[in-house]
Symmetry: C2
Subunit: 456 residues, 2 copies
């Protein structure tokens, strides 16, 4: 977490916090974060963003200046000093459960659960949603792109080139992290490399080629400095001429990058030129507004492309630029110490009450069969793996988190046993997620009580 993010939350979190405080109402509450409806053409998501969230939750505090700012807002004029003192002393004291990074999740499955005094849990909402949103969004999109690049069974690396089109400098770093978990080989984002230890990769820009008197000089000036790491960008003037010239160089180079034109036709001709010149070792890297659909078509048509550089469409998840993530109150502890289940019953948006567990079930071939959402306390279905595990207890992180490399491996491992009908790019089947009879009974009871609460 970057310093100074304590105020990155919706204003109503603070007015509600003040409202709870002034009403002396601060029971233990459980909120769950989940994706209500999956985006178009998606049948699963890859969970990502937990590491940053654990840092945020365990380090969150409000500075004197931040509290002073809040106090200065007219809305708070009737709020007592006690509330602002409460904020100055704020420290998260609750418990958090989460799905691990790299795990596959489906619609309505809790990714994160916060159990804490309601004021604490409420204030976290906006940061948690936005952080899970960007990282899970990009990890899930990257998984589609990486899969498309391997459509014929050959492992073809995908590299994140998208930072310039991300939603600001920080979003580019978070997207690079998501893309790496989703299976990318690395990123062009140097800060992501430094901060998260992701491999950084890159070629050259058109400006390099334009800057020198001619293309040949530009190519040679780069080769001289980076003898083992030269990928020549060949489309500044005329792609085939550039490749012919490079193929005649005595000095070795590692690749050529195609960034415009008909990538299928060009890659075939470029490969032929390189091979005839005895340069079969030189790789072809393709970039330029690529997405999973274009890549799958290129691979299906046997374009001899070795590496894909993907930018915009991956880092903004172009066809689905946000997730329908929501953070809902599912239960409260009453004054008597018992649990009171709660749900929103709004038209078309009603929620399922109760703290939950998600179980994943496999068939005899170890392929995914179905998921079951139960109440947290229910006994586990047979041969089922629970997906939510504690990560923070009484405000403290439980243990060191798995590394980012582990999250990337987990993503591969969680995707492998998914039958291909759920993974295809277009019109994937909907994966079966069931609710246990117990949780459905609770849900019906809450709906009935809700009608009473709505009164009349």
């Amino acid at each position: 977490m970057n310093a100074g993010f304590a105020l990155m939350t919706d204003f109503y979190e603070f007015t509600m916090a003040a409202g709870y405080f002034e009403n002396r109402f601060n029971p233990k509450a459980t909120f769950e974060l989940y994706c209500h409806t999956l985006p178009h053409q998606r049948s699963y998501l890859l969970v990502c963003g937990l590491r940053d969230i654990i840092q945020y939750i365990t380090r969150l505090k409000f500075s004197t200046a931040e509290v002073k700012y809040l106090k200065s807002l007219p809305v708070f004029q009737n709020v007592s000093k006690g509330f602002f003192e409460y904020l100055r002393a704020f420290k998260f004291s609750g418990d958090v459960w989460a799905m691990p990074e790299g795990e596959v999740c489906f619609a309505n499955e809790p990714i994160l659960q916060i159990e804490a005094p309601i004021i604490e849990a409420q204030i976290l909402e906006t940061y948690l949603l936005s952080m899970i949103n960007i990282q899970t969004l990009v990890a899930s999109k990257a998984a589609r792109i990486v899969r498309a690049a391997q459509y014929d069974g050959t492992a073809r690396p995908v590299i994140d080139f998208g930072s310039r089109r991300a939603h600001g400098p920080e979003a580019g770093v978070l997207a690079a992290r998501g893309a790496y978990v989703g299976g990318c080989l690395g990123t062009s984002n140097v800060l992501a490399g430094h901060r998260y230890n992701i491999p950084v990769l890159g070629t050259m820009a058109h400006s390099w080629v334009q800057a020198f008197d001619n293309e040949e000089t530009a190519f040679r000036n780069y080769q001289n400095i980076f003898p083992r790491h030269t990928v020549l960008l060949v489309d500044t003037y005329n792609t085939l001429q550039a490749v012919r010239r490079a193929a005649a160089f005595k000095k070795a180079f590692s690749g050529v990058r195609l960034d415009s034109g008909d990538l299928l036709a060009l890659s075939v001709r470029v490969r032929r030129i390189l091979d005839r010149a005895g340069r079969s070792d030189v790789k072809i890297i393709a970039s330029g507004n690529l997405d999973e659909y274009k890549i799958q078509t290129l691979v299906k048509n046997k374009a001899p492309i070795d590496i894909f550089g993907v930018g915009t469409e991956m880092v903004v998840s172009g066809d689905a630029p946000s997730l329908d993530l929501t953070y809902k109150l599912v239960q409260l502890e009453t004054k008597q110490g018992t649990v009171s289940y709660t749900a929103k019953l709004s038209c078309g948006k009603h929620t399922i009450p109760g703290r939950k567990q998600v179980y994943r079930m496999f068939d005899a071939k170890q392929q995914l069969k179905k998921d079951m959402i139960t109440l947290a306390g229910e006994s586990a279905p047979v041969h089922a793996r629970p997906l939510l595990a504690p990560v923070i207890r009484r405000g403290r992180p439980l243990k060191a988190l798995p590394s980012l490399a582990d999250a990337r491996t987990r993503a591969e491992d969680s995707l492998r046993p998914i039958p291909s009908c759920f993974l295809r790019l277009e019109r994937p089947s909907v994966y079966p997620v069931e609710y246990s009879p117990e949780i459905m009974a609770v849900s019906r009871a809450v709906q009935q009580r809700g009608r009473r609460r709505a009164g009349r």
Copy 2:
């Protein structure tokens, strides 16, 4: 600029920087940042993001740890110590011209020009693109939404509620800034309020209503604490029942928020209930997956909605989640001190060389007529207003920037004289942007020379 963003750039910026350095090649270069193709249904953009960019450019430096990280990368193993010393001493020394925040721009018009030794100008690329991308994207989307809300000529405020769906916590703050410049009344993002002095606004969440024993208690508990700032969220259980109950309260409240269901039908019925109870002063706020199209339809159909809260679709610019922004080398100073124009000639992506000025021309009624892109040195067309002005000279900001409120006013003022055919939400006309004969002559010359540079 947040500290620690020096490495937020594409890796190839540093390899090219090292390449230029090792080749002792560092001429003064001019790069221009512009939007090549406007997104679907857009005929203009609102420029936004300059303030953060000026801070970034004038403060950019590399720490020992950052340089050490770069040095550790295998690619740099043949690069001399001198380059890393250069980075440690880095300070931007060039000039920057820009369009002011809130100005309207069209396709291919430079928003930003950087003139500096090529190494300095190159390193800035990725940060500049991503920062202009998010803020201009959201400002432009917000302008559409705000216009839709005023479709019938009545000023109906729009509030940014989108932080939770932004691409990470920082993107939400930047989006809030863009939305404010684009005409929103305020934002729910408290950090944006604190950092940029944008009005912060909000209501209550469903969790507040669920947390108490019944809806009536929840409403009253809020009213008691915020007697003059209570907007009741009425759709947790049953919207009309909730409004009937609230209408009977003795205590005043400022509004009700509808967040689900058929907003047209509900708003008509809710208005009727409130009016019959003598609560004509109570405002109706609508939210829930709104965009400019839905809002225009609601207003066309005379939905009695007073304020719109817009989230996801605005902060991610849902129908067009990125801009086709590019940063291109347009000229270099040769050893002889003359200017060498340069362009990329790639198939379908060729660029126009030369440092430019953009002139805006008005007709006799002070309506926008056309824009003209010229070389920077050309004499101005008659009755034309130049849009690019210096903002940094020799590495120093030229003067205090206009305030954010001024940028918002400028946006209003720049949109007002645009004929409505360019402003309509769907199939807007394409605004005429011409190139001067001089710049076209230079462009043809560069294309001819380019064929020679490409060799044979």
